[in-house]
């Protein structure tokens, strides 16, 4: 039984009067990769936003190493050690690659380690080093995703939350991104991964949760769920379930 | 049930106001003048309320519509267009309301189809400045800075002005009230909440926005017409000045944007503040308006009307 780095307990989230997340609880153990999968609109992005403080939960608790996150603002959540790469990347397109990375190291915990973090980022993502003076908006889709992830790890986070990193990427890049996620995890970064690409996500996940219309439908180990005919049928598709 | 009660209260209040000239000498009473001015403010404020409060389009050119209405009335009279002389004429008033509507449609089509939010507000601000310059430079037609003079011998008594003012205030409120409850009102609120979604539901967004804009213009125009009748000397400084731009905003904001009673309460309050201010603190009262807006926006963004709800919900 590892250490629960992040605990989401019985969280309800509303958009105005409409409830979108119902009594959701997940745990993320230190050093693992946890996948949150489900169909479009199931509430995965909402949940990540609630953890990072952009949205506030109506009910329930979110604990990070035992400390409560529920009343914190997004910039405070980053300071504590949770980095969030949002859906669609949301890079600063008018700033250069290097400037985006510098801003990634904005939190005070990350600034003294800036030079080191930059080294690490460039060694993991050499293409970013080559393009460091270019405006972020001029990069290709795959490069942008790499920059988004690199930027997030500049903050030296304990947990990295990734929202749909494979979205809109060509199959080659998808493979690269997942290899990177795996490599990052090997470097002791805990990862909470939200994905629609269920197959890839479940392959690398230690633990996974299936979110369906705002509720946890199934949970279990990555390979468990990968082999589970329920999950296969509903989300992966008939082709795989015929194996 | 609540509706019936509001209607009864409104009727009583109206009757009370209508009865004032029987108890006071409206020609000399400052209070009657204050009421008259409040009624004018209600008309133009309801117009702005409809466009900005209910439809969400902050427009900054109601003074131009007001001024256009005033000038139209003055010009119709001076050139005896309707052949009715200087008679207190509904036809003239309606015409004075329609001219601003024409302007609203003409500028509304390009502005509303291309500009959103802040940019639309800026666009209307620009329009209003252009109108000011046009009237200033209008040559013999508008007589420039001096403006148009109408013979004040026609002014016999304040009473018709007072009652017309009351009627218009009632009319404006009723118009806005029924429009809000109509299908058009529903469409407008849908547009305010989420334009794209409204369009996706088949609501012709531009048409409704222009409609709202035109209604606001009409109300401002007839108010200007009444004011022209009252003032007899129409020039850019008196009818196009920025007070007529800011007062409706102040009134709606203070009273409660997007409500029916908000502009009414706001109008009485603001008119009182400024009337009293002009009497007792001639120069300092505009400072109050600034401080007041800041104060209200910081602590009561829903206005006086909202304040009542907040107090009630605490009790």
């Amino acid at each position: 039984m590892g250490n629960h780095l992040l605990e989401v307990k019985g969280v309800d989230v509303l958009y105005g009067d409409v409830q979108v997340i119902w009594d959701v609880s997940i745990h993320v153990e230190e050093g693992t990769i946890v996948a949150l999968v489900g169909a479009n609109g199931a509430g995965k992005t909402t949940l990540l936003k609630t953890i990072s403080g952009i949205i506030h939960a109506k009910r329930g608790e979110i604990l990070f190493s035992g400390k409560s996150l529920t009343r914190l603002k997004p910039q405070e959540v980053v300071d504590i050690g949770i980095s969030h790469v949002p859906e669609g990347r949301r890079l600063f397109s008018n700033l250069t690659v290097l400037e985006n990375l510098k801003l990634g190291a904005y939190p005070s915990r990350a600034r003294p380690l800036f030079a080191e973090s930059l080294e690490r980022a460039f060694s993991l993502f050499p293409v970013l080093k080559a393009r460091k003076g270019q405006k972020a908006g001029s990069l290709s889709g795959g490069e942008r995703q790499m920059l988004a992830i690199a930027r997030a790890i500049m903050a030296h986070p304990d947990i990295l939350m990734l929202d749909e990193p494979s979205l809109g990427l060509s199959p080659i890049f998808v493979k690269t991104i997942f290899e990177l996620i795996y490599a990052l995890n090997k470097q002791k970064v805990t990862i909470l991964l939200v994905e629609q690409n269920i197959h890839q996500a479940l392959k690398i996940a230690y633990q996974a949760y299936v979110l369906k219309t705002g509720k946890i439908a199934i949970s279990g180990g990555g390979d468990e769920l990968l082999a589970d005919p329920e999950v296969q049928k509903a989300y992966i598709g008939e082709r795989w379930s015929k194996r | 049930m609540r509706e019936r009660r509001s209607i009864i209260i409104s009727a009583l209040v109206t009757i009370a106001f209508a009865g004032v000239p029987f108890f006071l000498n409206v020609d000399t009473s400052y209070f009657a003048y204050y009421l008259f001015l409040s009624f004018c403010h209600i008309v133009i404020a309801q117009g702005w309320n409809f466009v900005a409060g209910y439809t969400g389009q902050i427009s900054l050119c109601q003074n131009a519509f007001f001024g256009l209405g005033a000038y139209t009335t003055a010009l119709i009279w001076l050139h005896d267009v309707t052949k009715t002389g200087y008679y207190f004429d509904p036809v003239v008033m309606v015409l004075s309301g329609l001219v601003p509507v024409i302007l609203a449609v003409i500028i509304g089509i390009p502005l509303l189809s291309r500009l959103r939010g802040d940019y639309f507000a800026l666009g209307t601000l620009g329009v209003q400045f252009i109108i000011q310059v046009l009237f200033l430079k209008g040559g013999a037609f508008t007589r420039g800075a001096d403006g148009l003079h109408l013979p004040s011998t026609v002014f016999e008594s304040m009473k018709p002005y007072y009652w017309t003012g009351l009627f218009l205030a009632l009319f404006a409120t009723a118009v806005v009230y029924f429009l809000i409850k109509s299908r058009a009102g529903l469409a407008l609120r849908a547009i305010r909440e989420d334009e794209i979604s409204a369009a996706a539901h088949g609501i012709h967004v531009l048409k409704y926005k222009i409609f709202a804009f035109a209604v606001g213009a009409f109300l401002a125009g007839i108010c200007g017409s009444l004011y022209a009748w009252y003032l007899f000397h129409i020039n850019p400084d008196s009818v196009l000045n920025l007070n007529w731009l800011f007062y409706p905003i102040l009134i709606c904001v203070l009273g409660g944007n997007g409500t029916i009673t908000g502009p009414i309460i706001g109008a009485f309050f603001i008119t009182a503040l400024f009337s009293l201010g002009t009497v007792y603190m001639a120069q300092t009262h505009p400072i109050l308006s600034g401080a007041l807006i800041i104060f209200v926006m910081k602590f009561m963004p829903t206005g006086l009307v909202g304040l009542k709800d907040r107090i009630l919900s605490r009790g």
């Binding site: 990072s52 403080g53 952009i54 603002k73 997004p74 910039q75 980053v78 300071d79 969030h84 949002p86 990347r89 949301r90 890079l91 600063f92 397109s93 008018n94 700033l95 400037e99 510098k102 801003l103 904005y106 990350a110 405006k135 972020a136 908006g137 001029s138 990069l139 920059l147 903050a155 | 902050i58 390009p110 502005l111 291309r114 500009l115 939010g117 802040d118 940019y119 800026l122 666009g123 601000l125 620009g126 329009v127 400045f129 252009i130 310059v133 430079k137 800011f246 905003i249 120069q283 300092t284 505009p286 400072i287 308006s289 600034g290 401080a291 007041l292 807006i293 800041i294 926006m297 910081k298």
Partner: protein, 297 residues
């Protein structure tokens, strides 16, 4: 009439336009910074500029301080006032979804400041007359008033200063990032109130500089502020948001437009022309003439 269009005249009109346009430009840069972070059109900018013009005027009239020297006092004062105003007036409103509330507070501030000045300092126009106020340079027959040239210099220097700040400092970078995507910036650990207060204070600081410039060139009265704010807005519409030198250039373009239009059709119509061009710009190219927009990542 056209026979008057000598080379000298054309150049003079150009020079006039550029020299005064930079004042609009500085005000526009301030507006751009404030809009970028707080997403409101700070209509009180003009009133602030006039306020600082008054400060400079009183320092000169009562204490004999040369207006350019008064910058040493005015600039820190404006930065301080800027952060003060933000913290007391705009902080909570800036966090709200409805930006109209912040806009209305700005309008309220404008009323307050303008009318306070009218009451305390009267509506009489003021101007600063120093020994060098009427000094002019005359290269190749063109008249370049000394004070306007210095104002141009101040404008270019402050614009460069702001640009350096935005490009070279971490906070400046944070301001740029927040102007593009505030939510994403908070995910970097950037505190939105910090960015807002920095941008706002610099905006007011620029108003301070423009105020001193104004005081040395023109006579001014409390109500001049509103028109100035509108002109700054027009300059911003020309130059485009988010672009420091673009805003400055926008001011120059407006200055040129006014200079030419005033000469050919008179000052009153010139204003109408400016507003008309403004409207057309808003409708055809609302992002301004100089914005080099990159598609969002």
């Amino acid at each position: 009439m056209l026979e008057y269009l000598t080379f000298g005249l054309i150049t003079q009109l150009f020079v006039n336009g550029i020299l005064f346009g930079t004042m609009y430009g500085i005000a526009a840069i301030g507006l751009s910074l404030i809009f970028g972070t707080m997403r409101i059109i700070f209509l009180a900018q003009g009133a602030m500029i006039v306020f600082f013009a008054y400060i400079s005027y009183w320092l000169f009239t009562l204490l004999g301080v040369d207006p350019y020297l008064s910058l040493i006092f005015v600039v820190p004062l404006s930065l301080l006032l800027g952060s003060g105003f933000y913290s007391s007036l705009f902080k909570e409103a800036a966090a709200l979804e409805d930006k109209n509330i912040s806009l209305l507070i700005a309008i309220g501030l404008m009323f307050l400041v303008e009318n306070l000045m009218t009451v305390v300092w009267t509506a009489n126009p003021r101007s600063i007359l120093t020994t060098y106020s009427s000094f002019v340079f005359r290269p190749i027959g063109i008249i370049i008033p000394f004070t306007r040239l210095i104002a141009l210099l101040m404008a270019v220097l402050s614009a460069s200063g702001v640009l350096l700040f935005l490009k070279k400092t971490l906070i400046g970078m944070a301001v740029r990032a927040a102007s593009e995507d505030m939510e994403s910036a908070t995910l970097m650990g950037i505190n939105p109130h910090w960015v807002n207060v920095v941008a706002f204070s610099i905006g007011i600081g620029l108003a301070g500089i423009a105020g001193v410039g104004l005081a040395t060139i023109y006579s001014f009265d409390p109500m001049y502020g509103f028109i100035f704010a509108i002109k700054a807005l027009i300059a911003l519409a020309f130059g485009g948001m988010g672009n420091v030198f673009g805003a400055l250039l926008g001011g120059i373009i407006l200055g040129l437009l006014e200079s030419w239009a005033s000469f050919f059709i008179g000052a009153g119509w010139a204003d109408a022309v400016s507003y008309a061009v403004f409207l057309i710009m808003l409708m055809l190219k609302p992002e301004g003439l100089f914005v080099r927009s990159v598609q969002t990542a």
